[in-house]
Symmetry: C2
Subunit: 201 residues, 2 copies
DNA sequence: GTCTATAAGCCGATAGAC
DNA sequence: GTCTATCGGCTTATAGAC
């Protein structure tokens, strides 16, 4: 298991995040020891401190990377279109992205409480930025008369919770394909903002 | 702090659940020590073992009591009515009940992973029973033509996630009254199952 | 960059006095 | 029913060899 010779630091640093994410999601931040993470990576616990100053910074790095990747992925996807098409695109994007990273998603919802002051503020702000994506789509669609929404903020929070909830029951070998799930949720989301028919089909 | 004389065991047993719930919700099950719980109750750690055989059983007792109270509260509320009225009643009930017990709700979603085999199965089953309440309302309403729902199971999970999500942002001193929140969510839920107008107003 | 060894302290749980 | 005292084990983090 020793990798003393020929080991590459950046590989270890990356593996610490990958294995830490899996373990934190499975057992909870507080329940996972540095020894457990080290064992999963294939090094001794003390080697971790070459890459992260303490356990807390591992969690911060995982959540930061997740939020940055999420925001970047949406930036790559977004384009100019009407409100209904934008909402449909967002629903598909959110479901697809969140289903593909269940551990990171679970962590970023459940372990915010394990973050200390500065890390908490940074992650919370990035989360808020992502929530604003949904809120902005809903506000624009409401202002131009496409949607019938009383409170865009509440509607955004409701829709985000609904979509993220897929992760609690989705199984890749389950009854429904990802495509089918996207369509079911698009139907419900569109209905919830006052649109009766799906924009396509 | 000692209560050696005149202490009543059942009061301590109850306080352990109350304080344990607060602490577990705030810091996570694994991060809370028996000493912390004991300090919050006002006894020494060893006194806890008079009431619960170990830490795990405290968590099980908290979650069991929560699920039993939730199912009982719905049983007291339910009555014979049409599907739209039943769904509206359920939405109001779920929001009201969950807002009033944020710690228990957070725990029952986040610390399922901290439960060992038997406790997990018991709690999971009670959760499933509660999910069936929503599912049954949606299935009946779909069968009699009230709702337009493609998949009652997915719709139930989506609606439950949306409603439970209120707890992530609700503040009792916030912009919106509980009454107003219920109405906003009823509007969105009704829309998501294909009903355009609210049954009242 | 990773190792071994270790410091200093908290953990869950138990024994026995009152 | 609660206390004090304690056991063995595991924790985060550091020091110094290679």
């Amino acid at each position: 298991m020793a990798r003393k010779v020929g080991s590459v630091g950046s590989v270890t640093a990356e593996a610490i995040l990958t294995e830490g994410c899996k373990l934190f999601a499975r057992f909870g931040y507080a329940a996972v020891s540095m020894r457990q993470i080290a064992a999963a990576v294939g090094v001794q616990a003390s080697a971790i401190y070459q890459h992260y100053p303490n356990k807390q910074e591992i969690l911060v790095a995982i959540l930061n990377a997740h939020m940055d990747a999420l925001l970047k992925a949406w930036d790559d996807e977004v384009c100019d279109e009407d409100a209904a098409a934008a909402l449909e695109r967002f629903v598909r994007f959110h479901i697809r992205y969140h289903i593909s990273r269940p551990d990171e998603v679970f962590l970023s919802y459940m372990e915010l409480r394990s973050l200390e002051d500065q890390g908490f503020r940074i992650i919370e702000r990035k989360r808020h930025t992502y929530e604003s994506v949904a809120k902005t789509i809903l506000r624009h669609g409401t202002e131009d008369g496409t949607f019938s929404v009383s409170d865009p903020h509440v509607a955004a929070m409701a829709i985000l919770a609904m979509l993220t909830g897929v992760n609690t029951w989705y199984r890749s070998d389950g009854r429904l394909s990802q495509q089918k799930i996207e369509e079911l949720y698009i139907g419900m989301v569109m209905g919830s903002v006052g649109l009766t028919a799906a924009p396509k089909e």
